[in-house]
Symmetry: C2
Subunit: 413 residues, 2 copies
């Protein structure tokens, strides 16, 4: 991608009305634009990050058998009346021209359950795992935390269907592992804790994945022995850790970046969703649901990975792998930079190439730090004389001089 | 993909309340599911087709410089008041909890124009091409044609920004060519005609891309000399073809699968979107907009490519390249089919493998015809004795016997 052609410019000033660090940096660096409170446009660089995260989630969920669907955002009122959740105040509601009433989906149990019922009839059709990555809307009372709490957002929601609780329990453990892989690949492995939280009708507790950050709205207590965390909302129920009987906890602020939930028959009951068991009996299908918010993940990454100069993207979610900067406009520098750009692209390396002629080196470096691509390569007259380029990691101060002919092998993606 | 694990089953009966051929076949074959009138879920096979079309569009639009963004579906009322389009009856409207009013986006001029205004200030920033592939909603009075006319649908919408009309005119011609490539790759090249249609405030005419099908809701007149078509709505203005002065026209039914529009300053005026020209003067930005409906494209493909047995997907948009069918369950047939499945996948060929044990060959063939993957490979005891498999194109009756060792090179994707 040529930076000279990039639609969006970075800005030095923090945007008005944005208090969260993630929104301030993402807006300034040109990843997102605010349309209204809790409602953002993803700009070209933001779309690249979004796609990386989408790909990670898709790969890990398909590894545990998830089949991808795409459900609508417009939901007819009737489906939500069946579970009594039409009244939920977070649901945006609207009327069509013939009086038809719709809610805007903020979750999809009321849609996936009758859909699964049409296709699952026998124990032979189970277990079954269905997921989507889809735009959701929620009438959020507090939409002040940038991408951490939006009115419009993209979720990965996975639903699992089982013949019995034991099978759900097994799959639930698989999802836990897949989630940890996702957080690890997004750079949040070290900061994200499996957290015991409030359950529902069919399970006393659920699990959240909480990522530690001062921007978090939740408080969790991390067991210092086994690392299980407990959400403050249920902490009073535990004097010792239910996992390892540990007694020491560390209290921290965190943001819920994922949740997994044993639904049991909570939704199969109202939809009368049954299957024929091997012995011929009709039984209710046992369900689980598993969510991750993509925008919130991006917001959490920026809250954690930044410094005064800007964002520091973890490798696998950065919009580009390399920021190539040409600091002078002499014919030789330009030709070398263009040649390197083409060569990197040919090797399937994603490069943002700062080919702009009207910026000083200082301006270019400041913008590169703000945008936060993990590796910076600088080409100048001075280093070209040594047949070299300067290589710098965004998260280090050190600048390395690398011979151009050795560059590709030293990158080692 | 293993067909035994596929979430959705095909059905023999046409669904009630579905009158259009596209919805009947897509529902029966398990590509989509109807949630409400004009509102569909894409099922696993449908998601694969959707992704193929998305990829084709993305590639062709990025070839002509399109930069991808993702704008929201929830639009604040204020933006639409600026152009006076808040009153449009097709717009779904809703109120948030603090009285905030939103419309659901059915197009994005009111969003992209102020966004572009924030980033485009000088002639140096122009031209600029921004697009997205995004979910739109429209309060459609007639939602009876399956995917051809939905209340929720996915559009590719591209917006172009120029210093002057001439530059817009040039880009407009580029988009025309890109659109023809898209239709060709989707299998609709021969049926799709550039069609003169009603313009707006700033251009007397616009262009539609109309795809001939009896399911179409439009009537177009195709010039028999140069192939330019004219929409019935403006046909009375022309006695001869404005392109070649031809006098003979053929009247056909067609569906609008794309449209391109010279907006001029229609939106830059109300948003006061100006740039500084090379001579220092401030001038209004000249705009164009270009849409393609992905769902409608899929619907049109099915309306055109089907027979009594089912869908006949064009090669580049099929959910899979090969439908591999194991017709017996002997150890030898199963082992050979599994080996071939793995080998094809290793060669990056997308395969739906019918590994089901409880279906007769006749049932499997009927389902394969309904699903409509372009190439069918059958493995049975009989042909394995000749170290061969049976190869059949969905659009031909002829069955070829091919030696397994020659199969890969004869596939020739």
């Amino acid at each position: 991608m040529l930076q000279s052609q990039l639609f969006v410019k970075t800005t030095k000033q923090a945007p008005k009305h944005e208090k969260s660090i993630n929104a301030q940096l993402l807006v300034r660096a040109g990843f997102i634009d605010k349309l209204a409170a809790g409602i953002y446009t993803y700009l070209p660089l933001g779309v690249q990050v979004f796609k990386k995260i989408e790909k990670i989630i898709q790969e890990e969920i398909e590894t545990i058998g998830g089949q991808k669907v795409l459900m609508p955002a417009l939901h007819p009122r009737e489906k939500w009346e069946i579970t009594g959740r039409w009244q939920v105040s977070e649901m945006f509601k609207l009327k069509g021209r013939f009086g038809k009433e719709y809610g805007l989906g903020w979750t999809h149990e009321e849609i996936i359950t009758p859909l699964a019922k049409k296709n699952i009839h026998s124990y032979k059709d189970l277990p079954c795992y269905i997921y989507q990555i889809q735009t959701k809307m929620r009438d959020e009372p507090r939409a002040k935390s940038g991408l951490l709490r939006g009115r419009e957002f993209t979720m990965k929601d996975l639903y699992s269907f089982h013949t019995e609780q034991k099978d759900l329990d097994n799959y639930y453990e698989k999802v836990k592992k897949a989630y940890f892989k996702i957080f690890k690949r997004c750079g949040l492995g070290a900061q994200t804790y499996l957290t015991l939280a409030l359950g529902g009708t069919f399970s006393k507790y659920s699990h959240e994945f909480q990522t530690i950050t001062p921007a978090g709205e939740d408080i969790i207590y991390i067991c210092q022995k086994c690392n299980l965390a407990i959400n403050k909302e249920i902490k009073s129920e535990f004097t010792i850790c239910p996992e390892c009987q540990g007694k020491k906890f560390k209290m921290v602020k965190a943001i819920e970046t994922g949740n997994i939930f044993k639904l049991g028959t909570k939704y199969s009951e109202p939809f009368n969703f049954k299957f024929r068991a091997q012995n011929g009996q009709e039984k209710l299908v046992v369900m689980g649901c598993y969510g991750i918010g993509l925008d919130r993940l991006i917001g959490a990454i920026v809250e954690i990975y930044h410094d005064k100069q800007g964002i520091i993207w973890p490798k696998e979610v950065a919009s580009h792998q390399i920021h190539l900067i040409q600091v002078e406009n002499s014919r030789q520098v330009k030709a070398s930079a263009e040649k390197l750009y083409k060569n990197l692209k040919k090797n399937n390396i994603q490069v943002l190439y700062d080919d702009r002629k009207d910026k000083t080196p200082g301006e270019k470096f400041a913008e590169a730090d703000l945008i936060g691509i993990p590796l910076r390569i600088v080409i100048s007259e001075r280093v070209l004389k040594k047949n070299s380029v300067e290589l710098k990691r965004r998260d280090e101060k050190k600048v390395k001089l690398i011979k151009i002919k050795n560059l590709l092998q030293s990158l080692n993606f």
